[in-house]
Amino acid sequence: MKLRFFRPLALGIATIAPAVAFAAPTLDVFPEAVHLRHKKDTQSIVVRITQDNGIHRDVTAEAQLQLEDPAKADFQKGAVLPKAEGKTNLKITWNGLSTSIPVTIENPQLAPTISFRKDVMPVLMKAECNRCHGAARGQDGFRLSLWGFDPEGDHFRITREFPGRRINLAAPEESLMLTKSDGEASHTGGKRFEKGSLLYNTMLSWLKAGAPNDSGETVALTGIDVMPKSLVLEGPGQNFHITVRANYADGTSRDVTSTALFLSSNDGAAKIAQDGIISTGQRGEAFVMARYGAHTVGIPVVVLPKDLQFTWPKVEEKNEIDKLVNTKLYNLRVAPSERCDDLTFLRRLFLDLTGTLPPPDRVKSFPADTNPNKREQLIDELLARPEFVDLWTLKWSDLLQIRSDVLREIYYKPVHLYHRWLREQIMAGVPLNKLAAQLVSASGSIFENPPATFYHLENDPIRVSEDAAQAFLGIRLQCAQCHNHPFDRWTMDDYRGFMAFFMQIGRKNAEDPRERIIYDTRSGEAKHPVGDRVVPPKFPGGEVPSVKDKDRRQVLADWLADPENPWFGRHIANLVWAHFLGVGIVDPVDDVRVSNPPSNKPLLDHLAKRFAEMNFDIRKLAREICVSETYQRSTHANPSNELDSRNFAKATVRRMRAEVLLDSISQATAAPMSHQTMPVGLRAVEVSDAKKTNYFLTTFGRSKRETVCARDEVSPTLSQALHLLTGDTIETKITAGALVDKMLKENKPPMEIVEALFLRSVSRMPDEQERSALEPYFSDPQQIKAALVDVQWALLNSKEFIFNH
């Protein structure tokens, strides 16, 4: 019952437009099977049509649904109800199409006892009680665990924390839990549900039963399925209902559509009501989420205008990346831009892979090369260059905040050693999961074992754990320091649990005052701020590992390096993707959370999977991205993709980061950087210490590396523009490089010099219009030099130069 309109495309270079693959309308039914386990168990059914243009329609109401054996079950109001033990089939017919799904009925006489965890906790979630009351200190004197992460505590607080107040077992209807919710009593949070509604009745039944806790082990909720998994709908005014099943550790599952909480990221495009019915609005994308227990699952919903005319262009697909990107684009009815020309590709690839401009001779020769694989060959060539290592050392140095700070007794020597070590690892192609594991588990002298400097740069376990979470996992735990994260699943327990890994780090001085020894103290605990209890080490969103007699950081490192780690590879893959495409699939890249979903989940899933298969080799991942047509698209928009910025329909115009821009100016002017204490000729990209900077780099937003999220800043400022126009950097470089002088001395004609200046800066030849516009300036022999220097200055100030496009 999966998406059928997107038949698997031919492997390798495929030129088949997705539209060609569409078949006649298909009929899908969700779920694929019905299994009812007690008297009250029901299953809502969704019947979906996929039209020949890929658009979905909910035809549950129009279709005929019939049980083959009506003695076994009933179909009423969109749901299957149990009648008698046994198996039968539900037959679904619509417009000549038909299918059937198996129906199994077990224990139809069994009346289930009400369960606090399975029945009441979802009410607290659906009515959003545990959102406001989920604050660390509760709300108006009553606290619940955020989104119900602590059912035991919630049961206690509802029934026993303040006896006589919240529940009334003598008169259950008069319980404050109900009177607050149904509007009977004044409530800051207003009315949450109607008297007599399903939520009300569930709560009331539980109160009438004496507000029992669950006895014994309750079966753990392992996840939820939201069906269908993705939708393309027409708008406005179309409805589509979805169904949610909860899966339990014992292998059972049940329909929880009526008790799941629904949210939409974009109500304008697709609203969802609490009965699970989506109603479409304007053209756009929405991420429609169902939340049940600790699980939130979203499905992407694309809303298109009715009867939209759209033709999918003929585009190549090099690899799975292209297929996944194009699938999304087709669903959006957005056509990708064409492939960029050779020169654009050459410059873009040089800047992205090496942080340098292509040499003039390559600019001349590359377009002329007739080898059909020349782009791939260039990718392989540049990946092997040391500048590639420099660029990624720089990226990691930002992430790890490599900077000296004499006030905090962080001297240049360990910083330099740390940077050098990092460069060696990337040079040697150490898998990035291993690299991260080495950092997290590092102990010993920071001189002898430079990765241990990770713990020298920051002492505070709060900062260390926050930084590690953001750098290695892309998640921001900060909010959960003082309260449970309001927009994500992170609780204070997650926060303190992660911090607990970093509570046993010892730091002692060595002979050299610049040196430190990092060691494992085997003592020190993270305490929960509410109640001061010890929180054991816990992987974010995961298990509580055994750390007895172990270096806790080693335990964390092993988890981090595990190819199955749900966060690390995915985060780094996204980070690498964002480097090449200018925007992350999750964006910002260091803010991975349920409510900030990836713009293309299958794509991110694929990259993460591939990255693990590649043994976390950054070169291989970079190669896979660079060979894709998606990377090689032009920045020129077409009418359908001009408003799109998140789906990679066109290439993104990106300002060069500060270090690369300065190096490019040096390269274009043939004037190497002379940087304070650094050797002449060292490129800005190679500078190890963020403290060593200059006005240009600071103005252009070089990362100060003071916080983990302070990435290089590429947003324009007035001082940047002024500095390029009137500042001393360009002027000084032009003078120091004296390119015009040299070429004039070689008696080169002015226009040849212009060509050389174009090749060195914007990596192309001047076009006819530019030539004829410049020609008159060279008529006066006295002014030729001044005119040429002006041309050089103008080129270095042009957007075409400053931006990677």
Partner: protein, 459 residues
Amino acid sequence: MKRGILPFLALTLPATAALPEKVTYDDHILPLFQNACLNCHNPDKKKAGLDLSTYAATLAGSDNGKIMHSGDAAGSLLYKCVKGTEEPTMPPKGDRLNSDELALIEKWIAGRAPESLSSKGAPVANAVANAVVSLERPAGAPPMPGTYTQSVPIAKVPRTNSIVALAASPWAPLTAVGGHKQVILFHSDTLETLGVLPFPEGLPTTLHFSRNGQILLVGGGIAAKSGKVALWKVETGERIATIGNEVDQVLAADLSPNQSTVVLGGPNRVLKFYNTKDGALVRSIKKHTDWVTAVSFSPDGAYVASADRAGGITVWEAASGAESVTLPGHKTAVNGLAFLPGILASAGQDGTVVLWDVAEGKERKKWNAHAGGCESVDFTSDGRIVTCGRDKVAKVWDQSGKLLLTTQPLGEIALRAVIAGDSIIAGDWNGKVQAFALADGGKPLGDLLTTPVEGTPPR
């Protein structure tokens, strides 16, 4: 007034036509009297000495005295007679008043029987006598309920709520237990039910006998809606005052030993002093930073202590309301307070009992009493301390913190415990109230029937 009264009506009446916002004599009651009463009770006939044709005459009453207690419909002869709950039922002939008319009269009296839209209404005059404050046992037989049968229906409930209101008379073998919209009186020795006092205002959350044992105070109400304190004469079962007009349940209240003042508090954090005679609010104090959970007068009436859910305890001069001392010690909720001359005991959610020297404002003794939380504390007149808590037992201590006795476990969290005569009476989360021996290892002696069914004869 509107807020406090409406729920009361809603509880006692079937669906009726919407009542006017303010019921007045001129606009509503006189026309009703003209239809149904003035035939006899006019200035000329004046049957039984009663004239209802003017406001002043109505207030003046009949040969039997006043026919109205301002603010207390249920306690007013006028209402009882027209409702038919007391002889002579009125009107004696012809149609009885319908429910809408009854509601109108009830609301009028509850709203202090105003004459017109612009008048405030008749002053409340509660029959609360001044008491001589004494630390000694009062002379004569201790006050016990006489033979009174409550004619109001006892709330029929499938089970009792958690026991949060429980008190024993300081002198008589009498225990009061809060139930659903009622207070049930038991003989502390025989465990027999002696009577039921209706509290339609909601759930009783606190019970206190007056120092002399003559009056029973009950505080409570409907959570997040309304709160009241009621005073009853123990011997007659007569409700002599209804005090307070809170917008949330009263969680804690006590009556001053001289019976002049009721102090109450609840979730709105304000401590309020009410005059018992006219129900007037004397003072409100905003000092507590969390819900007020306990209030207790000192036996001599000089001080009143209050405590909150954040662990704060303050002792006030009862007469002036001036702050006498704050007692820091509990970091989490204080669940109960009890006073002996000069000594205040507090029960904390932190599991401890603290004895405070009130004059010095210092902690005198502190000990862990109940793991998980100490829910209540009380003194016996001979100075022993009885506590109970989340460890599901009640315990008796001397003032040095020496454990004298632990009862057999209750089935659930033990929420309230008192010593009554030779037994400990303790109530738990399940709503069960049991008596335990004060000797013999605290063995159970029997249950107090907290879910009386309708028709059970009291006594």
